[in-house]
Symmetry: C2
Subunit: 134 residues, 2 copies
Amino acid sequence: MIGRLNHVAIAVPDLAAAAAQYRDTLGAMVRDPQDEPDHGVTVVFIELPNTKIELLYPLGENSPIAGFLEKNPAGGIHHICYEVEDILAARDRLKASGARVLGSGEPKIGAHGKPVLFLHPKDFNGCLVELEQV
Amino acid sequence: MIGRLNHVAIAVPDLAAAAAQYRDTLGAMVRDPQDEPDHGVTVVFIELPNTKIELLYPLGENSPIAGFLEKNPAGGIHHICYEVEDILAARDRLKASGARVLGSGEPKIGAHGKPVLFLHPKDFNGCLVELEQV
């Protein structure tokens, strides 16, 4: 069911410093910051040869990562995203297994313009898992 | 400098249950468990089309992930691993930037039989970063 690892998302306390570190020290291809007001984050994409790292920084009130950074002031890995071909079929299979889908259970349009769902970390070894239909 | 994301390592409290979930519920290709006594872990590799997930479970006394699971009883993402071509050149560049390399600073042979180093999470946005020479 799951396909590629689409990205690893890292919440960071200083977006400019983190982007500079990935570009200058780690020598990666780092994109310009993008504000995603619908998702309450500013994102910097880091393009690795086989997947992406997404650096996340809070944007606006009620950012979904503000609480995470309060608990983890140095930052940390926020979620991992697996690709699926059919997000509704994936959701139904997961729910049938007893896994909890966050929110209403209906896919939302994610930061890449594609349908996404988030799964409850307590059902996935403490990892917040995003599914993205590709 | 960094190349592919080699793997994401997830520490899990129940290796058989986590492997079964990735195989049966998430439909991924899950390998048999491997004991890595030199590293104090039993590992289950999950082969995604573009990278790997490594499920980690403590093996023996003084496992490096026992403390992590005590702090995170549900499990959690333990580290991410980036590939580099020359681990000594990478280490020297990182140290020159002020980043801390864990342990003696000399590469060890990792779970894949290749030289690895770990970088201090406080210097990398709260993420434990492994570098593996490929």
